[in-house]
């Protein structure tokens, strides 16, 4: 499919304006940009909290759960959007309901449980795909993403979900930050830390389901983690960090879509590479900079 686009006249010339005009003449590219931007904004903001809360492993699991969701939806003949959202939210509820250690982070039992869920989810996806007999065509797009064929309706759904998720994040942002940075003090002050972490997991599920539809289940992580990690290397201030995270996510997605349009290689590769480059640049800039102290985000506990 990607080759077909390249053969249809997608050649990079020196006239950038003409190239862009040529690209946006295709409605599917316009939709890909709309969907990619929406997903990147949601992922940039929610990913920043995920990295801060050290819940990268949970985020990764949610991403993989999208795969059986989408393949089950394909098998049953309904739109994959519903599969992504349904399974990701279900998995977030399951993770939240599991017995939990006192602190987030890599406690051994919790990670064994998450790892088991993760592998089982992928195995179920394999089962659905093989029941559907869609082995060779569908599986790559579900796992590694495809920017072709995003419909107007899908863009609308993505936009609505992103607005709801970001609105919720704005509401719980401040207490969530407090509970993340200093959980014990937040709990002592009467903040519902447990409720906050459940709500956050649900937000994470929404973000993951959004991004999955562009980058595929396996590469969601790149859009969630890399911009956020880069932003945390650049600044310790929450507001600026979230803005930087969103900016990097959006830029990497745009650059990835453009590069994939003008070359025969898949969009997932380009998006991950550009985001990783941003992370590397941020890390290098930081280590070349002034002080080498291990700075995490610090907030005046107020």
């Amino acid at each position: 499919m990607i080759l077909a686009v390249a053969e249809a006249g997608a050649h990079l010339s020196w006239d950038l304006g003409a190239d862009l005009r040529q690209m946006f003449a295709y409605h599917f590219m316009v939709n890909a940009f709309r969907a990619g931007t929406i997903a990147a904004v949601a992922a940039g903001a929610i990913g920043w909290f995920m990295v801060l809360r050290r819940q990268t492993f949970a985020g990764h699991t949610l991403a993989l759960v999208g795969f059986p969701g989408a393949s089950a939806a394909t098998w049953l003949g309904i739109a994959t959007v519903w599969g992504y959202f349904g399974f990701c939210i279900g998995a977030a509820v399951a993770i939240a309901a599991l017995p939990r250690s006192d602190h987030g982070g890599g406690f051994s039992e919790e990670s064994a449980v998450i790892g088991t869920i993760q592998a089982f989810a992928l195995a179920s996806g394999l089962l659905f795909v093989s029941l559907y007999h869609g082995f060779l065509n569908g599986i790559d797009a579900l796992l590694f993403g495809s920017f072709l064929g995003v419909t107007d309706r899908q863009v609308l759904i993505l936009a609505l979900v992103a607005v709801v998720a970001l609105g919720l994040l704005v509401v719980i942002g401040r207490p969530l930050l407090f509970a993340t940075v200093d959980r014990d003090v937040a709990a002592a002050r009467g903040l519902p830390t447990r409720v906050l972490s459940v709500v956050f997991l649900l937000l994470l599920a929404l973000a993951v389901a959004e991004v999955s539809q562009i980058t595929g289940s396996l590469l969601v992580f790149a859009v969630l983690v890399m911009p956020a990690a880069a932003a945390q290397q650049l600044t310790a201030r929450p507001g600026a960090g979230i803005a930087a995270s969103i900016g990097i996510a959006v830029l990497a997605t745009w650059a990835g879509l453009v590069a994939a349009y003008f070359s025969p290689y898949p969009v997932g590769f380009y998006v991950t590479t550009f985001a990783f480059a941003a992370y590397l640049a941020a890390t290098l800039r930081r280590s070349a900079g002034q002080r080498p102290s291990r700075g995490r985000v610090r907030v005046a506990a107020a």
Binding site: A112, A119, L122, S130, L219, A222, M226, T272, F276, R298
Partner: protein, 303 residues
């Protein structure tokens, strides 16, 4: 299929009359046993996330070898062992930061996608199934030489792990005291991660790059729920993995619509679920040694 209900002995003989089933049982069984051993220590040492990273590396390594036109196992093992050693050497005391791992492996996967598309579009024998086989395993498709190498490597991994099990256990449970006693805690950590790399490469051939984490984590997680005693747990973990593998293979043989990797993983996950449910209430929760104190950054306020 009805024979399986009527006469189990005959059904098993019939199944094992196929050479590919025998190969799958022998190689798969040994791979599963080794994964059970290694997985137990992975869970004990809170390094499951590292195994997750390695599973993605194995995908990219294998696809890179295919794109370059060499035996995929060369790329598989080279990539897994190199990255495992790197994680061991870089990470503070053999435990790398999960955000760093996350970043590196997300990009690794992106590279894997690139190699997959190079391989499938180059036309050099790329029929599209190779990618799926690496992702989800092809245990029924092992050739006899592949099965022999896989079995030998699995046995070697198991033997080395048993040999270092005692000091490794000590170093995992109480690194500070182990270091004070003059044990090479860091060296043990690196050797262990190399074993994890080898096991990841092995398991990729059995259940695939995407599912090997389950073979490592689920039996070990179940074993840790069921017993506090490390040696019992170690063998229990290996036994659960072996049972999942053999029963899973039999189910996949009896019901051809079910992929073997799914059957194996479903059984492993079910054993973990049952173990969690069985120990969730009842007596007190099994106590385990606390995570290493160095693992979490010191509380805010030091800078």
């Amino acid at each position: 299929m009805s024979a399986a209900v009527v006469d189990p002995v005959r059904a098993v003989t019939h199944m094992l009359a196929h050479p590919f089933m025998v190969r799958a049982f022998v190689a798969g069984g040994l791979i599963a046993s080794a994964s059970g051993f290694v997985g137990y220590f992975l869970v004990l040492r809170s390094q499951v996330f590292t195994a997750d990273a390695l599973s993605h590396v194995s995908l990219t390594g294998a696809l890179a070898a295919l794109a370059a036109g060499i035996d995929l196992r060369v790329g598989l093992f080279a990539a897994c062992i190199a990255v495992a050693a790197l994680i061991g050497l870089l990470g503070p005391r053999g435990r790398a930061d999960d955000v760093v791992i996350g970043n590196v492996f997300a990009w690794t996967l992106g590279l894997g996608v690139l190699f997959l598309s190079i391989y499938t579009t180059s036309g050099s024998g790329g029929d599209g199934t190779a990618g799926v086989n690496i992702l989800f395993g092809s245990i029924f498709g092992l050739s006899s030489s592949q099965a022999r190498v896989a079995a030998l490597v699995a046995v070697a991994t198991g033997v080395v792990l048993i040999a270092i099990a005692r000091p490794l256990l000590f170093a995992s449970l109480d690194p500070a005291v182990a270091r004070a006693r003059g044990m090479p805690v860091r060296g043990l950590g690196v050797v262990f991660l190399c074993l994890v790399g080898v096991t990841a490469g092995e398991a990729t051939q059995a259940v695939g790059a995407l599912l090997l984490l389950g073979l490592l984590a689920a039996p070990a997680g179940a074993a840790q729920r069921l017993t506090d005693r490390p040696w019992v747990g170690l063998w229990l973990s290996s036994g659960i993995a072996l049972a999942s593998m053999w029963v899973g293979l039999s189910i996949a043989y009896a019901a051809p619509r079910i992929p073997p990797s799914f059957a194996i993983l479903a059984l492993a996950a079910a054993s973990h679920l049952i173990a969690v449910a069985a120990t969730a209430r009842g007596r007190f929760r099994p106590r385990r040694a606390p995570a290493a104190p160095s693992f979490r950054p010191p509380p805010a306020g030091h800078g």
